[in-house]
């Protein structure tokens, strides 16, 4: 057992982080939001960036080399999605990733693929070239997240079981990235913002909020990485629960650390929180995970 990133995994993580920093930095994030503030119009999906992700192997990461993919495994995919979660990369990333090798053009980023998920919600319906599942009669809603347009459908699709598991795991990876990022934002702000003549990070109440954020990140990280290695449904459920918690509570505490500034449209904090909320309702919700983990306790019982 050596439960640490390998050299190659570090390199992959740094590579994805570098790519995203260059192509989807904070200015791009804010630019993508311009005009999305009203939420009446669906924000544009950046096709150029989508293709670039495709050629970098983001969607074909787990496709065998013979099939034109990168031939890596779930742990690597989890690292890539964690990076996507860090920068709030928009788009139906998971659906397109899972469609690579199944839907033509998905692997290369030519096609944008979305899915009707178990909760009866579709992300990015307007931008999608291909919709998996039955989206007939989908009605738009005003999405809380300015960068994730949502539609509701009447008849939820139960979905492919493996896809549900992988969606849950990759969602957890995105949540982990978001949680780690809000921890950094909280700490940065706590170090620089001064009140009472000193950085607010010198006050215990603020310190303890920040420490709490980090603890949730680290516990979630261990759970998410382990689930990527074992692909055990109970491990995935645990990872999802803890990563959802780390992202949602982390973003809320980060907002608290930012004070009034945190409540503005200007600060990025709300974007992290809203995206975390959107992801948290994907298949493999809190109730499902808790029930699965409860049942697992009795699985081996006499």
């Amino acid at each position: 057992m050596r439960f640490q990133l390998t050299e190659d995994q570090w390199a992959l993580r740094d590579g994805v982080r570098g790519l995203l920093a260059a192509r989807f930095g904070r200015e791009r994030l804010r630019a993508a939001m311009e005009g999305a503030g009203g939420a009446e119009v669906e924000p544009e999906l950046d096709r150029g960036l989508w293709r670039e992700l495709g050629s970098a192997g983001f969607f074909s990461l787990r496709l065998p080399e013979e099939a034109g993919g990168v031939g890596l495994g779930l742990p690597e995919a989890v690292l890539a999605f964690e990076e996507a979660g860090r920068v709030l990369l928009p788009g139906p990333l998971i659906a397109t990733h899972l469609a690579a090798g199944v839907v033509p053009g998905a692997a290369t980023g030519e096609a944008v693929v979305t899915v009707v998920d178990g909760g009866g919600v579709v992300e990015w319906l307007g931008a999608a070239d291909v919709v998996r599942g039955d989206a007939a009669g989908a009605a738009p809603m005003r999405s809380v997240d300015p960068l994730t347009p949502l539609h509701r459908v009447a008849e939820p699709d139960s979905g492919d079981r493996t896809d549900v598991l992988l969606t849950s795991l990759l969602t957890a990876a995105e949540q982990l990235g978001t949680a780690a990022r809000v921890c950094e934002l909280a700490v940065q702000h706590a170090r620089t913002r001064e009140q009472f003549g000193r950085p607010i990070g010198a006050f215990q109440a603020v310190q303890h909020l920040c420490a709490g954020i980090l603890v949730r990140v680290e516990v979630a990280r261990a759970a998410v990485y382990a689930a990527a290695v074992t692909v055990d449904p109970a491990d995935i459920a645990a990872a999802r629960l803890l990563a959802d918690e780390a992202a949602v509570r982390g973003a809320r505490d980060c907002l608290q650390v930012h004070g009034g500034m945190g409540f503005t449209w200007e600060a990025d904090v709300h974007l992290y929180l809203k995206r975390a909320w959107v992801r948290a309702r994907r298949p493999g919700s809190i109730t499902e995970c808790e029930e699965l983990l409860a049942a697992e306790l009795l699985a081996e019982a006499p």
Binding site: R2, P75, A211, E218, A223, A238, L242, L292, A294, E300
Partner: protein
């Protein structure tokens, strides 16, 4: 990222499992929680059994991955807990191994491993708890001895200990972190009075220890004179970093037992309670993974401040576990009946957010030393 056993690890696991299958059934019955001499004998006996079978040194020195397997398998099999050997095996021993001289290692470690001697920890004082560096127990040189006077408190296992890892102030004029020295004090030295304190669980888990001109040989000093704070940090990093690791597996076992009990008494049909148990399953799974992560990261040597992250979450989760246990035992007052299993454990779980550094102190450590926030007040 690899969670599978190497061939050597798999072989170790299989051999250990087979041995546990044979060794556990022939263990004597567990003594009552109030019978300290009985508990001492039982805990030392188990350590001796481990030693004779070649597993005596598995807590330190051995490959950390092997230690994880040891903790996992012994807990799953329901083997005895380290108990009275907690301090010796889990933090005094590792400290002596890391910081002691060759003579000191040869003198103290083998009896610990053979299950012959029990250690206790004399760090806290009535006016030095969270602010440990404020300790006032004095020691001055007299020939080849230190002469020690003062008082320690909350000293677990003091009544049955042979040795005490003791912090003393050797330079009262130096800044408070600088004048401290780490000594190993024999508990049978003249001048030591142990007064048991009754815990909220009704037991005598810890004691006050009064020291009146106790002579401790200078040769028993680990590290340099006045450099004891650095050695203390090593001890505490073991205490927070690795000492509770095995208990995570134990909690997972308790949780599974709780689920079975809930199924039997019908409480399982309550979705709120059931989901709460499911959430705890996530918690302890993740804590075990975090442990594997930390152990792989440290790989050898002294664990880092990451131990505080683990300790914070684990101590909280353990308390939640026993709160859930009370829910399961539920109606009819079973949760209030000291004869019931889990009720004593529920009481003792209350100490986890206090002992080995309170949660508030751990939060501050994480904020300042891991996150680099400015030093607070």
């Amino acid at each position: 990222m690899d969670l599978s056993d190497t061939p050597q690890e798999a072989e170790f696991r299989a051999r250990l499992r087979e041995w546990l299958g044979k060794a556990l059934p022939s263990l004597p019955a567990k003594p009552s929680p109030d019978d300290w001499p009985g508990r001492r004998a039982y805990d030392l006996g188990w350590q001796r059994t481990l030693y004779d079978a070649g597993y005596g040194d598995v807590h330190w020195g051995a490959d950390p991955a092997v230690r994880m397997i040891y903790l996992e398998e012994t807990e799953k099999a329901g083997a005895p807990y380290v108990g009275a050997n907690f301090v010796g095996l889990l933090h005094a021993g590792p400290t002596v191994a890391a910081e002691g001289t060759d003579e000191q290692r040869a003198h103290w470690l083998p009896p610990m491993l053979r299950g012959e001697e029990v250690w206790c920890q004399g760090f806290s004082e009535p006016d030095a708890g969270s602010d440990l560096a404020a300790l006032r127990t004095r020691a001055w040189r007299d020939g080849d001895d230190y002469v020690v006077s003062g008082a320690k408190i909350w000293t677990s296992h003091a009544e049955v200990a042979d040795w005490c890892e003791l912090l003393v102030r050797t330079d009262p004029h130096a800044p408070k972190h600088r004048g401290i020295t780490w000594l190993a004090m024999p508990m049978d030295a003249p001048g030591i009075t142990v007064r048991p304190l009754r815990t909220l669980a009704g037991s005598n888990e810890f004691a006050e220890v009064f020291l009146d001109e106790v002579r401790v040989p200078v040769a028993n000093r680990v590290g340099e004179e006045n450099d004891g704070w650095r050695v203390t940090m090593v001890t505490l990093s073991f205490e927070r970093g690795t000492a509770f690791v095995g208990e995570v597996v134990a909690c997972r076992r308790v949780l599974a037992e709780l689920a079975v009990a809930a199924r039997e008494n019908g409480r399982w049909d309550d979705p709120v309670l059931r989901r709460r148990l499911g959430r705890l399953n996530a918690e302890f799974r993740a804590l075990w993974r975090l442990t594997q992560w930390n152990v792989s990261e440290a790989s050898e040597g002294v664990p880092g401040v990451g131990g505080s992250v683990f300790k914070l979450r684990y101590s909280h989760a353990r308390q939640e576990l026993y709160e859930a246990a009370a829910e399961v035992l539920g109606e009819g007052g079973a949760a209030l009946d000291l004869e019931q299993p889990w009720v004593l454990d529920r009481l003792s779980s209350l100490s986890y957010t206090i002992a080995a550094g309170t949660s508030q102190i751990q939060h501050s450590i994480v904020a300042e030393r891991v996150l680099g926030l400015p030093k607070g007040r």
